[in-house]
């Protein structure tokens, strides 16, 4: 599961988050920090806010899709993961923050502790904090539980940036250790500035994000729910590695101008870029109505689900349904001589036989390349694919790299089974494509 160099980003994030604890610890005698129950509660309240602020700031920078960050995390999906975990952890700390500060007031006055949560116009700094926290609760709750359309969820989720700005306002207006210490003020100012800048870059100033310009050359329905869109570059084409994905938006009357991520299914040597899109929602269902000649804007490429992650020269690819797309790109790139010396077994899993849309193309490739073998698997007929079945056909898995892409449940099951079968973490590669 570990991707090359992926720990560098995590280590940097942890250091950045923990750094402010240092000036916080040395700016005052420890007795004042932990000398009494009230002091400890105050310290917990302050630390949780300090760490939470750092986590939110970094989390915003991570989600800005900055290409240069990818190599330190092992792919955009990993960055997203870090974004989610930092965000959630930061949020939990933000919940602790007012609780600790209110609880310390209880010995003096319970009413005072209760009033601590009541917003007032006389104390705007505190009120900003309260509003920010309530916004976070609502938006994060909606993100996790609401069954809204993906794009609506995304738009809602983006309002967390506003909650963050309110929180920053709160942090700098309220008299605290941040306002009282230059090092802390400078550090937190820097982090939150980075966070806000990253946020504005992705929202208000989204136009300045560099994108590649393409036009639609063909739209082909491959199956009732599967459409292939072929795109021709109008200027310099994008350079990518097989297995990577892009964000695309179309200027076409058939579709709203939303941006969606898709794996590239064509190989790098092809002149055109092909995206294979499954109808999973309203927008993806309408992709079949796209008109030839319409403009497309592409941002990317992203992702670390590439052959470079491999540590052995024997690979098992496991594709569930639409999860075939990154493998399509890699298989099609075999013609270029890529992965030529690798032994590759592709398990192509679908629910029904008619969904095995690429079976013919892939088996032709398998005939031309001896090292590449195809094992189609229809779940409705053969049951779920287990590592036992894989071992029967491919032999031991422990000396192989396992690449898996597909529905979340399937990936989880395969990964667990692989680990149980003794495959090292460094040999298991999964495309964590679940966003939000």
């Amino acid at each position: 599961m570990l991707r090359r160099n992926s720990y560098i980003g995590l280590v940097i994030v942890i250091l950045l988050v923990l750094f402010p604890v240092l000036p916080w610890l040395i700016m005052k005698p420890l007795e004042l920090r932990f000398g009494s129950g009230a002091a400890v509660a105050t310290s917990i309240g302050q630390l949780s806010a300090l760490l939470g602020l750092a986590m939110f700031s970094i989390s915003l920078v991570l989600i800005a899709r900055l290409p240069f960050l990818e190599k330190y995390f092992g792919g955009l999906d990993r960055i997203w993961q870090a974004h989610r975990h930092l965000g959630m952890f930061g949020f939990l700390l933000m919940l602790v923050h007012p609780l600790a500060l209110a609880v310390r007031l209880v010995p003096v006055s319970v009413a005072e502790a209760a009033l601590f949560f009541v917003p007032s116009f006389a104390d705007m700094a505190r009120t900003f904090g309260i509003v920010a926290l309530l916004l976070m609760m609502g938006i994060i709750g909606a993100t996790l539980f609401a069954h809204w359309r993906y794009q609506i969820l995304l738009k809602t989720h983006r309002f967390l940036g506003l909650a963050f700005m309110l929180g920053v306002l709160h942090a700098f207006l309220i008299p605290s250790d941040i306002s009282g210490n230059t090092v802390l003020a400078a550090y937190c100012g820097m982090l939150s500035f980075a966070g806000i800048t990253a946020y504005l870059y992705r929202t208000v100033f989204a136009r300045v994000v560099p994108k590649h310009s393409y036009t639609i050359k063909a739209v082909k329905k491959l199956h009732s729910t599967l459409t292939e869109v072929t795109l021709r570059p109008t200027e310099k084409p994008l350079t990518f590695k097989p297995g990577q994905f892009v964000f695309v938006s179309f200027a076409d009357p058939a579709l709203s101008k939303e941006t969606h991520p898709f794996s590239i299914s064509s190989a790098p040597h092809e002149q055109d870029l092909r995206l294979t899109i499954k109808a999973l929602g309203d927008w993806t269902a309408a992709v079949g109505d796209l008109g030839v000649g319409s403009k497309a804007l592409i941002e990317g490429p992203f992702g670390g689900f590439t052959s470079e992650q491999g540590v052995t020269n024997k690979e098992v690819w496991i594709a569930g349904g639409i999860g075939i797309t990154p493998f399509l790109s890699r298989a099609r790139a075999l013609v270029e001589g890529k992965d030529g010396q690798k032994m590759i077994d592709l398990y192509y899993i679908t629910n029904t036989r008619d969904e095995l849309v690429f079976e013919r193309e892939l088996s032709e490739l398998a005939m031309n390349f001896k090292n590449f073998r195809l094992f189609p698997h229809v779940s409705k007929e053969q049951g779920y694919l287990s590592t036992n079945t894989i071992r029967q056909q491919s032999g031991q898995l422990t000396d192989r790299d396992v690449y898996v892409c597909g529905p979340a449940g399937m990936m989880k099951s395969i990964i667990t089974q692989c680990k149980e079968a003794g495959v090292a973490s460094s040999q298991i590669h999964a495309e964590e494509f679940a966003m939000l």
Binding site: L99, V110, E112, D123, G141, L173, S176
Partner: protein, 349 residues
Amino acid sequence: MKTSYIIGIAVFWSVLLVVGTAGLISYENEKMITALKMANADGKQVGKVDQMVQSAIEQGQTLWTTELIARHTTNTDCWIVVDGVIYDVTEYIPLHPGGSETILNTCGTDATEAFKTKGASGDDHSALAYELLARYKVAVLGDPLPVAVTATTAGEVAPTATVASSAAQTTFVSSAPSTPKVDTPSLIVSALTAAVVAAHNTVNDCWLIIKDKVYDVTEYVPFHPGGTGAIRTWCGKEATQAFSTMGGKGKNHSTNAWKLLDKYFVGSLGGSVSSAVVSTNTSSPSTTVSPTTDLATSPEEAILKEYPGATIIGVEQEDDGRATVKFYYDGEKYEAKLDAANNIVEIDD
């Protein structure tokens, strides 16, 4: 992810619910305690005597001055001055939202400027903060030093000194003590001018002029339904307009409110008022002016002699002259039994 969220939210709102409910229940109760503490804080003028103050008294000093607070500069003993009032904020240091060292930096000094600007941010503290501060009141700068102690050192001069210094206060002389032994009627009766009222301009010492009458509403400030802040602006000022329009909202206060106001009547503007009256009215009831004779003439007096600054909440007098007195002293509740000659024979807490 979902589980963390649910647990986090559940814990947060449960704690909030518990604290909120408890706060609501204890709110009325705490108001009373605040009032009692404030009453007691005035009592501390007599009660809170440290060595520094003691020696100052022995040297013949009769008024609270800034020098007396200058030694309370540590995190275990921190006094500050805000708006001419001395506070012992030691207890509050670790609780200060703005950090404990911001308070520590001002210990032993006049922190008015710092308090009103929150250090550097330029914002005044909230009304809530002022209420909290009031709980830690020790004395008013320029007020007379403890009488009981003065009595032991300066003998029969004490009562006069007290009255004289109170007079000094009403005529807005709050710096170094003047000649305390002056015993002329002119000082005992002082004119109630706008300038005199203007000296009582904080929430912890708040006089208002309404329709040419002077009221000392200090005691009422924390209970004001319109908030402390609404009154604070008018302390020491002509407030007729503000009172009859509820601070510009155009609504007059209720008849009941006007009646309540009467309770705090000090005197008519331009008239003269006995300094003794002023002194009793300046929110330090019953203590400062009590003559220190050897024999207590009432149970209350006996208690106050023994427990200076106590707030008496009830006296039950028996037919044979014995009495039971309930009172608060230093935040604790006590019950004392006295014999017919007003000697304390038993004390329970």
